[in-house]
């Protein structure tokens, strides 16, 4: 059962939310920004904004999801405002990796994510790490489902170039698998 929120949370309520939501938000934040310190700042900022907008959270159960939306939008804002250290020039990268390229030359996953455009990075993380559906991702990012699909497709194509077909096979569907990942 959910509880409607008509007034700001008590310190205890909010502290409880911070402790409950922090680990998952931190992991998502790290995949988005690729840096532990920045990830911590990002989660703190997102939770602070959530506190300030508590009247709009509506239900306690929705608070963590609300905070995740704020986190992703804040990250996107950071990417745009700060000449983001994780952004790499794309013009110099090959459209496709050479088929016989040495796999050890390929960037690590987080480095590859950092080379995606911010919106592509967000959809990849939300869909393949947070296991959100296309519709849920669209709601989280405040964009259309069509945009999510096109950004997913572009992001996967870029990751295939960077990480190789073994990680993102050529026949990849844009529908995430949410089965056993262990």
């Amino acid at each position: 059962m959910t509880r409607a929120l008509t007034r700001p949370p008590s310190d205890e309520q909010f502290t409880e939310l911070v402790h409950a939501a922090w680990p998952a938000l931190y992991r998502t934040a790290y995949l988005l920004v690729g840096n532990r310190g920045e990830a911590e700042d990002l989660v703190q900022t997102a939770l602070a904004k959530t506190y300030a907008s508590w009247g709009r959270v509506r239900e306690v159960d929705a608070a963590a999801g609300y905070a995740r939306t704020v986190l992703v939008n804040t990250a996107t804002s950071w990417f745009r405002k700060r000449s983001w250290h994780g952004e790499q020039p794309t013009a110099t990268l090959p459209e496709r990796a050479a088929p016989d390229a040495d796999p050890t030359d390929r960037p690590a996953l987080v480095d590859a994510l950092a080379r995606l455009a911010p919106r592509q990075r967000a959809v990849v993380v939300l869909r393949y790490y947070d296991d959100l559906s296309v519709a849920e991702t669209a709601r989280a990012l405040g964009c259309s489902e069509g945009t999510v699909k096109s950004q997913t497709s572009a992001g996967l194509a870029r990751l295939r170039t960077l990480l190789g077909d073994a990680v993102v096979p050529q026949t990849t569907s844009t529908t995430p698998t949410t089965g056993d990942l262990s």
Binding site: D11, F14, T15, V18, H19, W22, P23, Y26, R27, T28, Y30, L31, R36, E40, V43, Q44, T45, L47, A48, K49, T50, Y51, A52, S53, R56, Y66, T69, V70, N73, T74, T76, S77, R80, K81, L109, V110, R119, V124, V125, Y128, Y129, D131, R139, L141, G142, C143, S144, T147, L156, L159, A166, V167, V168, P169, T172, S173, P176, T177, G179, L181
Partner: protein
């Protein structure tokens, strides 16, 4: 086949050592954000009270009043998403509605007395004939307002119950009139100096109302009118043309940059690039309360595939909303909203979080296109009429619809 990618993402994340949260620091930061938001609103209200308090006598001298009701309610109008379809105005996202007794609605303005509707023979603002006005109160009741303008860009302030507009005066000059929407009475009329001309784009100089001040975008010299004091002074704080003034702030834009300036201090609060290179069309628009700036960059070579950015003027942070900007409205409290044929989406300007729900309104059926021919002075003139979709007559609150 994204199992491998998902697995790598989960391995990367689960291998992280997660630092313990500092809940006290988060709480303190949250309180700080909340305080800053409140302070932004409070500064406007304090400035308004101070200005009103210092000019009561001047107002009474003009209006002939006793002074007992000179302090205006500074309660901003917030009827949620306000829009119109056909001649019906919808408040609170459609839960309240009102019919306007005219042929078409031109635009919707927020005031503290309710939603001011500009209407007339057609939807056009320019070249559209007489511009009539009606006030829709929060309970949906409608009162016609005794003002008719033509080729004018009027001004309202969400925290004031007034309408300001310019009109031709004797001797070829112009005058600015302020009209109280609650009593349907004129409360001030100030004749502008001869240097305050219209630049030809409008029949009279366009104006904006901000507290006690009416900003007049006359050409070549803009003017600032203190309507309570009855003075008009030249100003360089705005440019000729429509004054983009709300919440004590102005956005000044050229082809490659938009800058938001605090009108009281002259401080530049935010600057953002615009792209107007032929292939891309950019513009910037302040929210009715002046807290947010909508910035667009439409790719003219790929129409329809565009979103826009919304900057928090106070913090400089921006969020992206993936929806064409032209039919996006502002609520009186600075949220964004837009409609589809079936749904209403509201987006928080500070977080970008959007909520979509069915609006439950029977939207107008698309009108068939027909050819209309009229006999003109030089022969028969034919044009096409209708042919639009359900949103052909849509007007959203908080947007100017001036061309």
């Amino acid at each position: 086949m994204t199992e491998r990618l998902a697995q790598l993402l989960h391995e990367e994340a689960s291998g992280l050592e997660v630092p313990a949260p500092d809940a006290r620091a988060v709480l303190a930061a949250g309180r700080g954000v909340r305080r800053r938001r409140r302070a932004t609103s409070a500064v406007g209200a304090l400035a308004l009270v101070a200005a009103v308090g210092g000019s009561v006598l001047a107002v009474d001298a003009l209006a002939g009043g006793s002074g007992t009701d000179a302090v205006d309610p500074a309660t901003p109008s917030d009827a949620g998403p306000v829009f119109s379809l056909g001649t019906t105005v919808y408040l609170e996202g459609g839960s309240e509605q009102a019919r306007i007794d005219d042929k078409a609605i031109k635009s919707l303005f927020y005031t503290s007395a309710g939603v001011l509707v500009r209407h007339g023979e057609n939807q056009n603002s320019d070249g559209g004939g007489p511009q009539r006005f009606s006030l829709v109160r929060p309970d949906g009741s409608v009162s016609p307002i005794g003002v008719v303008t033509e080729e004018a860009v009027p001004g309202t302030d969400p925290e004031q119950p007034y309408l300001a507009y310019a009109s031709p005066a004797a001797g070829g000059s112009y005058e600015v009139t302020v009209h109280d929407l609650r009593s349907d009475d004129e409360v001030a009329s100030i004749t502008l100096p001869a240097a305050a001309n219209s630049d030809g784009a409008w029949g009279v100089p366009p104006v904006a109302l901000d507290g006690d001040r009416v900003w007049v975008g006359s050409s070549p010299q803009p003017y600032l009118v203190d309507w309570r004091a009855g003075t008009a002074t030249p100003t360089d704080a705005i440019d000729p043309g429509i004054p983009s003034v709300t919440g004590g702030r102005v956005v000044r834009a050229d082809t490659d940059e938009a800058t938001v300036v605090d009108l009281a201090s002259g401080e530049e609060l935010l600057s953002t690039p615009l792209v107007n290179d032929g292939d891309t069309d950019s513009w910037a628009d302040l929210s009715p309360d002046g807290r947010y700036l909508m910035v667009t960059a439409e790719d003219m070579t790929s129409p329809g595939a565009t979103g826009f950015e919304v900057y928090d003027v106070g913090t400089g942070e921006a969020v992206t909303v993936e929806h064409p900007p032209y039919d996006v409205g502002w609520t009186g409290s600075g949220d964004l909203f837009f409609l589809t044929e079936t749904d209403l989406t509201t987006c928080e300007a500070d977080t970008g979080e959007c909520t979509t729900r069915p609006h439950g309104i029977d939207v107008p059926a698309p009108t068939p296109q027909r050819e209309v021919c009229e006999r003109g002075a030089t022969g028969e003139i034919c044009y096409f009429e209708g042919g639009g979709g359900w949103d052909e007559t849509l007007r959203v609150g908080g947007r100017t619809y001036e061309s």
